[in-house]
Symmetry: C2
Subunit: 429 residues, 2 copies
């Protein structure tokens, strides 16, 4: 892979997500760092749903990785796909060649999980990357274009209706954004369509939305969703989908051309790990130093990792940005400690709280010292998301978009730039 | 196509470019208007080159057509591909069904012309749509990613070098933007690469750049390009290209994986026109009312049209936005006159001037009352482009991008979001 030799030890990091970029920063000037990602940009996943619903342009929530680390010495980025590693020979193999390492860090995140029903990958819409979010945006808009010229019937009804599977933050935020599109935006674009026909269903197998938050937040979010006209169906599991009909485990059905799958994620472990360190959901078991079980110089971070032995988080930490960033900080400090032959410190999670927005003036926020819902929570949600977004320009443009949308109830990005075809809907261009 | 009947006459317009949107505005409330375009957005083509060179995001120079005409009564947009028309039966056939018309307007613009050498379509980069501009952006960046891991040799040299064929405004602006990328942006991203190796060639068959402008502007633009390190080769024609080697008509060669084709355009006439109204470059012959030759109710506008019988423009008008807009205005007024059984007025072009920018503080502007080059011309160029851009938000974001770039010599959008493969370069993801 043509990385020059260095007198410093080499850390190879796979994945430029929250954990990866935090770790590069921590190791600056202390190690030679090689960062590998399939994309040349970092994706701010919490706002992907706004790209999918025409609220912001994709370029504002992604940021070139090379630009983040401008001026870093002994830092190398390579756009590549990691294939396998060998800890014995300390070699990582990628699609553009091999690279040796002194330490290897797996910060590879997650992919959508279909819980074994892989045909759903083809038939449903997902939102784990900016490309998928753009596809979803194009697809939603194409549905309405297509509906204009379609005769009445089940097929046409199925074009109008949306079913979102999974009522975690992604599903809730997406349902809220779709409800706002339905109420404020689409009727202007399609005066010929009666938007009472558009139904938005949010389905979850659990007994409440935002199951990871406390009950007060769940109740309030459910309340908001219902105010906005979202049909929330709890204790329901999707059993099957044929591209038009969603069949639940209890036998009931819904018709939609747009089944949005936000029901779960799974790790995508790289070759070279022994099967007994991989959990059923694809996470990599590590100790409290984020060292992969039975490995010496290989680590896993963030969504991809599952720490064993933390008394508070016996089933692993939540797969959220805060955990990823804190683990990366800790690992960075530990690797620097190793250089000084100092004792490593185990990871301990400081939960700064969680939040979700449902729509205009509607959000829920809970931290150790503050629990609030409504307008103030919504302001906090926006402030925190702007702060964590990478890049001054991105923050400015997103704030600008939000401000314009707030004033005129509009969304600018109703652009079909990735004509998208899936098996559920034969649209193509 | 499901357009409701109206007591008003129906005008069907194919193409949502400058001419199409101007005509819809002129016909508002006076006709039933059906606008057909393959995209659901208007593209501001003059700034496509900045999307291709990572200067601005695509969403800022495209604008949803439905949003432009929000609130218009008896207006129907259909995202469709026009296939053929029959003037006898007054029917237009599209890929989503038929529509009848009282008047049909062809405002279908142009596509890239390869002057018969169609294999160049596969092997070269083009820039007629936002998708092509995004592909070019991704491709340019991928070249450098790929060069990092490639052994020395002709193939690697060919990755560094760019050849732009055609020194009209598009070619000149693109060459200048690439020169700025080379000087200010890419060295930060790729400190491992020696950018002296990156050569930018601008080739034209004529004896000067910006051949449609006056000699003073051409000289100054040439001067700017050379100051910026662009190799301008005049009186040269590309004869062949195999994906790596460009062969000129005089037998000389250049090596590049990136041959950018800005050498010419051609009309793409729809079926239903008789061959004798189509020029060799695909333009549709019309009279001075923009009425297609030998037709009564079919018109052509803008780049797609060539007016016969104008004493000043014997070979047709220049294919620029101003002509398209003015023809649309005139036709709109004439169609309204027809309702009142008034005399039609022939089209007469008021040339408001032309301009091109080469880079920071460098542009050439010529109008009937002002000819200027340099910083002031560059300010005029920016002002005029911002004014003609559709949408407040778009103007604001483009101005913001330009301001940030001007201050920090940077370009934000170095994002590979459309991994692009062509036959010249085997990159894919």
């Amino acid at each position: 892979m043509d990385i020059p030799a260095s007198e410093k030890q080499r850390v190879v990091i796979i994945g430029g997500g929250f954990a990866g970029i935090e770790l590069v920063r921590k190791l600056r000037d202390k190690f030679q760092v090689v960062l590998i990602d399939r994309n040349n940009f970092h994706t701010f996943q919490p706002l992907l749903y706004q790209v999918a619903t025409a609220g912001i342009e994709p370029d504002s929530i992604i940021f070139p990785l090379r630009k983040i680390f401008k001026g870093y010495k002994d830092f190398y980025f390579r756009m590549a796909k990691a294939i396998r590693f060998d800890a014995e020979s300390k070699v990582l193999t990628t699609d553009i060649g091999d690279v040796t390492f002194d330490y290897l860090v797996l910060a590879t995140g997650t992919d959508t999980s279909f819980f074994g029903n892989e045909k759903l990958r083809e038939l449903t819409l997902q939102m784990k990357s900016v490309r998928e979010a753009l596809d979803m945006r194009s697809y939603i808009l194409q549905n309405f274009e297509q509906a204009l010229t379609m005769p009445e019937g089940t097929e046409k009804e199925a074009l109008f209706d949306y079913v979102i599977c999974g009522a975690g933050p992604t599903g809730v935020e997406l349902a809220g954004a779709l409800a706002e599109l339905k109420k404020h935006v689409l009727p202007n674009d399609y005066p010929e369509i009666d938007f009472k026909r558009m139904q938005i269903y949010l389905i979850d197998g659990g007994s409440r939305v935002l199951g990871a938050m406390n009950e007060k937040s769940s109740e309030k979010a459910l309340d908001y969703l219902r105010q906005m006209g979202v049909d929330v169906l709890l204790n329901k599991r999707v059993k099957d989908y044929d591209g038009t009909t969603v069949t639940m485990a209890d036998g009931t059905t819904l018709h939609t051309k747009s089944l949005i799958w936000a029901a779960g994620v799974k790790g995508v472990p790289i070759e070279g790990l022994s099967p007994d360190v991989i959990t059923p959901s694809g996470r990599i078991l590590t100790d409290r130093m984020n060292r992969v079980k039975n490995q010496q110089i290989v680590f896993a971070l963030g969504d991809a990792a599952q720490i064993e032995g933390d008394p508070v988080f016996e089933k692993g930490h939540p797969q959220v940005a805060q955990v990823a960033i804190q683990q990366a900080t800790q690992l960075g400090e530990n690797l620097v400690r190793a250089q000084g032959r100092m004792q490593w410190k185990p990871f301990s999670y400081r939960d700064k709280g969680s939040m979700a927005t449902v729509g205009r003036n509607k959000a829920v926020v809970e931290t150790s010292w503050l629990k609030t819902q409504g307008f103030f929570a919504w302001l906090i949600w926006m402030f925190v998301h702007l702060m964590f977004l990478v890049g001054f320009r991105n923050r400015f443009v997103v704030l600008l978009n939000w401000t314009i949308s707030y004033i005129n109830y509009d969304r600018g990005m109703r652009l079909i730039i990735r004509p998208f075809r899936n098996k559920a809907n034969g649209i193509s261009q």
